[in-house]
């Protein structure tokens, strides 16, 4: 069971995890090369800047497709698509795409 986290708290925790490099990336046995966090073209700072710009209307929450009790937070801003969730105390990024 994971604690319900609203937009503001989700934003704060995602930024903190990126800033402190305490996040993990969910994988399916392989490195998903489309996730821009794996490349050299986008840094954690770039992703933080996008998240900072996000407002409530850029945020959506959906249950994780495998574990319905986990809320996946989705941010869409300026063509960016960022998806993450929390398994306390960890922050997992599913996607950072453009």
């Amino acid at each position: 069971m994971t604690k319900k986290v609203g937009f503001k708290e989700a934003k704060r925790r995602a930024i903190e995890a990126l800033r402190n490099k305490t996040y993990q990336i969910e994988e399916r046995q392989e490195i998903e090369t489309k996730n821009l966090l794996y490349g050299n073209t986008v840094s954690e700072e770039d992703v933080i800047e996008i998240i900072i710009k996000c407002r409530g209307q850029d945020h959506e929450m959906q249950p994780h497709h495998m574990v319905k009790t986990v809320d996946v937070h989705i941010l869409r801003k300026d063509g960016w698509y960022i998806k993450f969730y929390f398994l306390d105390p960890e922050t997992f990024f599913l996607s950072v795409h453009r």
Partner: protein, 206 residues
């Protein structure tokens, strides 16, 4: 920054087990999903039930990025010889030891700069049209020459995405970028970008 060590415990969602699982951090070889190879011996979060890699901690990303850099692809284009001359002129401004790799550095620098600019797509279209309209003063035929670079997979993807949103072909983007280099770095007597570019090149060459 929190660093995990081999043997540390965590949890994750496992695709194979379709469940939230306990995991252990272990060193594993993890392949890229596009078949371009694998990263050897990185710390990964491994499912305690099925033994599959289920997550990658941030501390393993620099190793993945280095492995990704080594995957190189060719970027090729046929451009007017005058474009090559512009690139070479710009290269001699940024380094006393200008060589072919400085051409690549300049193109990469300007492509990335423009790709990140919200107005970049519109600007590159305009620049390409200017490049296309520029004719030699006399009616002479300007030969076309081949530009060829080995670039990282990431750069190629960023370049292709920029071409797509601009609605241009890759060669057209390159021609627009050369036009930008001409007006930003070659034409001005004291280009504003020059100190930064010289500094970058000097750092890379040190």
């Amino acid at each position: 920054m929190k660093l995990y060590s081999a043997g540390d415990k965590s949890k994750a969602i496992c695709e194979t087990c379709q469940d939230m699982v306990e995991t252990t951090f272990l060193y594993r070889d993890v392949p890229f999903d596009d078949g371009t190879g694998k990263v050897k011996d990185i710390l990964a979060s491994v499912c305690d039930r099925c033994g599959e890699v289920v997550a990658i901690p941030a501390q393993s990303l620099p190793a993945i990025r280095r492995a990704r850099e080594k995957v190189e692809v060719s970027l090729e284009a046929q451009v007017p010889a005058s474009d090559i001359e512009i690139l070479d002129a710009a290269a001699t401004r940024i380094s006393e030891r200008a060589s072919v790799r400085h051409r690549k550095f300049l193109l990469a620098f300007y492509v990335r700069k423009m790709a990140r600019d919200p107005q970049g797509a519109e600007r590159i279209k305009q620049l390409f049209l200017e490049a296309k309209a520029a004719k030699p003063k006399a009616k002479v035929k300007v030969p076309r020459k081949r530009l060829s670079f080995k670039v990282s997979h990431d750069f190629e993807e960023e370049f292709a995405a920029f071409a797509k949103i601009s609605g241009l072909k890759k060669t057209q983007v390159l021609r627009g970028v050369v036009r930008e280099i001409r007006s930003d770095l070659v034409a001005p007597e004291y280009p504003a970008s020059l100190p930064q570019l010289r500094e970058l090149v000097a750092t890379m060459e040190s």
